[in-house]
């Protein structure tokens, strides 16, 4: 009986911890040749870039990633992006890809380049 509980417990914890995102592998999946310019600093710079007025990353996520954001069109509250305050962030490859695509289209009306994507993720990881 006890063993069964232990097994269940082990199964639960392993599903939580087994897959942390391998960022190098993720970046590789976007391009085999990520330029050295793709950095957290570049991501920070792009954070406020708004080719479409009022639609930068910061428009919804704010400048302080540890704070709750608010969707610029709908006012829907958005949980903090910072993995330090919100440990669920950047834990699933599927979600990272989904949101990069959706939000780049929101802000730039196109998908982001691998350089931009790496810069954003590096910026979010370090904030």
């Amino acid at each position: 009986m006890k063993i069964r509980y232990l097994l269940i417990l082990a199964a639960c914890t392993s599903t939580v911890h087994a897959k942390s995102v391998d960022f190098d592998q993720l970046y590789q999946s976007w391009s085999n040749n990520i330029p050295a310019s793709a950095t957290a600093a570049k991501g920070k710079e792009l954070w406020n870039y708004e080719p479409i007025p009022g639609k930068s990353c910061a428009s919804c996520h704010g400048d302080d990633l540890s704070q709750t954001g608010s969707h610029v069109k709908t006012n829907k509250l958005i949980k903090p992006l910072s993995p330090k305050t919100n440990p669920k962030r950047l834990t699933k490859v599927r979600k990272i890809n989904k949101w990069l695509k959706r939000n780049c289209k929101f802000s730039y009306k196109r998908e982001c380049t691998p350089e931009e994507k790496v810069s954003f993720i590096e910026f979010i990881r370090n904030n």
Partner: protein
């Protein structure tokens, strides 16, 4: 003796079944008070909350008829969802959402508000905005613009700004609190 019991049991099971057939979610609907008066909750659908509720209030399926959801989930509409391209890469997710939305749509629900929304629409009307349904439009018509356009609200589409129990599908006057104004009496 046995016959007497049988009649009683039959009577209760018949009335139970009759009530069940009227309901969306069995006993909860019957005993849930406001549950049956608003629209069926969407809070229990994780996929819907994650996919749609991340950017905006997760409008309950019971706020629009199935033909509206059918239109909304079409490829054309998804690539221009109120100005945004939100096309799904994962077709399984898209079809799961489609099924959830249409099965639980207003015209398939017996909840009070869902029925009123359905009744207010022409048989071929398929609005994409909840606020374009005559019933919902009528319900909000008298609210002054300044209360709607204030930053904490923004638009009538921001249900939760004033309907404090909107996430549970309850839109009763009692749970309305307009920022900077307070309770709103709909009479």
């Amino acid at each position: 003796m046995f016959r007497k019991y049988l009649t009683t049991i039959l009577f209760f099971s018949m009335s139970f079944l009759a009530l069940q057939s009227q309901s969306d979610s069995s006993l909860w609907r019957y005993f849930g008070g406001e549950g049956g008066r608003g629209v069926a909750t969407a809070a229990d659908n994780v996929l819907y909350q994650e996919e749609c509720g991340a950017c905006h209030f997760a409008y309950q399926p019971g706020l629009l008829p199935a033909r509206s959801w059918d239109r909304m989930m079409s490829k054309t509409e998804l690539s221009d969802h109120f100005g945004e391209d939100i096309a799904f890469d994962d077709q399984k997710i898209a079809s799961d959402l489609y099924n959830y939305l249409t099965v639980n749509a207003a015209d398939n629900s017996s909840y009070k508000r869902s029925r009123k929304i359905t009744r207010s629409l022409g048989a071929n009307e398929a609005p994409l905005r909840v606020t374009d349904t005559p019933y919902i439009y009528r319900k909000h018509r008298e609210i002054p613009d300044r209360l709607v356009s204030q930053p904490k609200v923004g638009s009538i589409a921001n249900c939760e700004a004033c309907h404090k129990s909107a996430d549970r599908g309850s839109f009763d006057d009692d749970n309305v609190k307009i920022p900077g104004y307070g309770r709103w009496d709909d009479d």
